[in-house]
Symmetry: C2
Subunit: 360 residues, 2 copies
C-alpha cells in the first residue's frame, strides 16, 4: 500500500482475535459482552463484533449512539452521565432502539422521566473506587430511591461500574485487589436491590478470568489494545492491532534522533513514563516498529520521546538510526488507541482498504 502521510493501520485479523478471545471469556462466565465502541468509532469494526454474534454495544456519547444506531445497532447503552441538554436526541433514539442511559442523581432521573417520552432503561452508575463519576456504594438511601424511582416508560436495568483505576496498575496483584473489591460491592447491591451487573474496564477484563458475578461486560480498548495496556499487563505486543504509519522527514544522527511526520494531531499527547535506550527517563508517546508487507513487526526499536503538533521525535541507537533514511515510512504503536483513533478521518486495513469511521 502507498502511504504518504500519517495513516492509522488496523490489523483486522488481530482485532478479530482480540474480539474472539474476549467473547469466549465472557461466554465461559455466562456474561454477555456489550463492548464499548468508543475505541474504534467505526461501523466496519463494529461488523467484526456482529460476525461474532454480538448484538449490543456501549458508547460514550449521544452522537456515537446515533452513529451506531444508524448502522444497525439496536441495543445501546450510553455509558456517560445523562446529559440533560441532549434530551431531544435521546428521546428520538429511545423511540428507535433499546436505549439505556446512565444516572447518578435523583434530579437526572426526574428530568429523564419527565422529558423522555419513549421507553428507556437506566443503569445506576456505581463508583467502585475510580472517583470519576458514580454513587458511593455506601450511599444506600440514594441508590434505593433511584432503584425504586422506576416508573412508566423508565425501567431500572441494574448497576454499572467502570474500574478505571486499574489503568494505574502495573501488576496482577493490584488489579486483582481492585477487581475483588468491585465484585464484592456490586454483588451486594445486586443481592439487595436486584437488577443486573454491568462491569467493564479493559485491564480487569483482560487479566482476570472469572466474571460469573457479572451479567454483562463492557470493555472497549481490547479490540485494538495499545502500549499502555501492554504496560499494564493486559496484552502482549503482538495483540496490539493498530499502528500509525509515519513518514521520516529528517534525521539527526548527532543526537540519535529521527523526525517523523506524525505528531500530537495524529497520536494524541497521551503518554507513559519510560526509560530510553540511554537510560534516561522521559515521556513516551509511542513505540517505533518496522512496517512489513502485511502489517508490522513487533520488535520495538525506539520511543517517540517528544511530540509537537505534526512532529514526532524518536530516539534510536547508532545501529538503528543507520538503517533509517528520509522518505522511509516507519510504524508507531500508540500509547492509547482510543485517543489515536479519534484523531483520524479514516483508517486503512493492512491490505490497504479504506475503513470508514465516525467523524466530527
Amino acid at each position: 500500500m502507498e502511504i504518504k502521510t500519517p495513516t492509522l493501520i488496523i490489523d483486522k485479523g488481530k482485532a478479530l482475535k482480540n474480539i474472539q478471545k474476549m467473547s469466549d471469556k465472557a461466554k465461559k462466565s455466562k456474561a454477555e459482552l456489550r463492548p464499548h465502541f468508543k475505541t474504534h468509532f467505526s461501523a466496519e469494526i463494529g461488523n467484526l463484533f456482529k460476525a461474532e454474534g454480538i448484538s449490543k454495544c456501549t458508547v460514550s456519547s449521544v452522537s456515537m449512539a446515533k452513529y451506531f444506531a444508524a448502522h444497525g445497532w439496536t441495543d445501546i447503552t450510553i455509558a456517560f452521565p445523562y446529559n440533560l441538554l441532549e434530551v431531544g436526541d435521546i428521546n428520538a433514539l429511545a423511540g428507535k432502539i433499546n436505549l439505556n442511559i446512565l444516572l447518578e442523581s435523583e434530579e437526572s432521573l426526574e428530568h429523564a422521566q419527565k422529558n423522555i417520552k419513549n421507553p428507556f432503561g437506566y443503569f445506576i452508575k456505581i463508583d467502585v473506587g475510580t472517583h470519576r463519576t458514580g454513587i458511593d456504594p455506601r450511599n444506600g438511601s440514594l441508590i434505593e430511591r433511584l432503584v425504586k424511582g422506576a416508573s412508566g416508560k423508565s425501567a431500572f436495568i441494574g448497576f454499572l461500574a467502570h474500574a478505571g483505576h486499574t489503568y494505574g496498575c502495573r501488576d496482577f496483584e493490584s488489579i486483582k485487589w481492585i477487581f475483588d473489591g468491585s465484585v464484592k460491592v456490586l454483588s451486594e447491591l445486586k443481592n439487595k436491590f436486584g437488577g443486573i451487573i454491568s462491569y467493564g474496564d479493559t485491564p480487569s477484563c483482560s487479566i482476570m478470568d472469572d466474571f460469573s458475578f457479572a451479567d454483562e461486560l463492557r470493555p472497549g480498548n481490547f479490540v485494538f489494545y495499545d502500549f499502555m495496556q501492554h504496560r499494564i499487563g493486559s496484552c502482549s505486543i503482538d495483540e496490539i492491532a493498530l499502528c500509525l504509519a509515519s513518514p521520516v522527514v529528517a534525521i539527526h544522527k548527532e543526537r540519535n534522533e529521527v523526525v517523523v511526520y506524525g505528531g500530537a494531531v495524529h497520536l494524541s499527547k497521551e503518554m507513559i513514563k519510560e526509560k530510553n535506550i540511554f537510560g534516561k527517563e522521559h515521556s513516551c508517546y509511542g513505540k517505533m516498529v518496522t512496517l512489513s508487507g502485511d502489517g508490522w513487526e513487533t520488535t520495538v526499536l525506539g520511543n517517540v520521546e517528544r511530540l509537537s503538533q505534526e512532529h514526532g521525535i524518536i530516539k534510536l541507537s547508532d545501529e538503528e538510526i543507520a538503517r533509517v533514511k528520509v522518505g522511509d515510512v516507519i510504524g508507531i504503536l500508540p500509547v492509547h488507541s482510543c485517543l489515536t483513533a479519534d484523531l483520524q478521518g479514516h483508517y486503512l486495513s493492512t491490505k490497504g482498504e479504506r475503513i470508514e469511521k465516525m467523524t466530527k
Copy 2:
C-alpha cells in the same frame, strides 16, 4: 446561543485585536507578518488576517497548504521538513501558488529539484536551540552547499527558525536570552549568505519588541492564545480568544468535583502543572470560567484536574460548587489552543454563528 455538547467558542473580536496588535508590532520593525495557520485551521479566521492586509501565510502540512490555497491564499510556506512522499501534491501546489518549502539536507534539496517541476522557493531550517529540526548553525559547510545549490526552478529564500524552546520559559529574562541568541545566529547567517530571515514563535513574538533583524515573522498561536501562553507571559487572560463550552453532567460535592462533558477528545491531553485551590500539585488541562451572554468572564474558578476520553473533572471550592448545577454549561479556557482547535469539527462565534474549519 443554545449549547448542548462540547463546543469551541471563538471570540472574533479578541482574535482580531490579537491580529492587529501583532501586525502593528511587525510593521514597526518593518518585518512582514506571515502568520502560522496551524492554530485555527479555518478559512474564515484566515479572512480576519486578510482584512488586516496580510496576504501570506504559513502552514505545517501539505494538506493544510491545499486547504488554504483553495481558499484564496496564494503565497504559502510549509514550515515542516519537506516530506518527499508528498512531492506530487507539492508540485501541483507550486504550479498554482507561490510555494516555499523547508529543507535541512542535501538529499531533500536534490529530491525536490529533481521532482518538483514548477518554480518553488526553499528556506533552510536553522536549529536555534530547540533541537527539534533544523541544521546546527555552526555547520557552515552544509548551509553553504544548500544556499548555493539553488538552480533552475528552485530559489533559495532564506533562513527559517522556530525558537520553540521559549515554551519552556516562565519569565521575560529567559525568553530574552533565547531571543538574543537566535537573533545573533540568524543575523550572522544572513550577513554571510544573504537571503531573508523568517522568525517566529508566539512567546518571543508576543514578549519582545524589536524585530528589525527579521524580514518576516511567523507566530501562529497568538490569534487565539491559551492558558499555556498566559503562563509563559505571552498574553493576559482576557486576550485568550477561545473557550470550550461544556455541559455539567454530574456534581460530587463530597470531593469538591464537577464532571463536565468535555474530555480528551475535545480539549486534548496537553497539560501544565498547577497547584489547585487546596494547594495540591496536579496536571491542569484547562481553566473553568463562567460563560456570559456575549462570551465568557475571565475569572478562573477552578482547574480541569483530570481528563478521560469524554469526561473532564473540575475541582471547585465549596462556595463555587454550590453555584453549579447539572445541565449548566460552563466554559473552559484550553491549555493549548492549536490542539484543542484541531479536535473540533467546527467552531461557533460568540454570536452563535457557525465557523467552518478544515476537517480530517
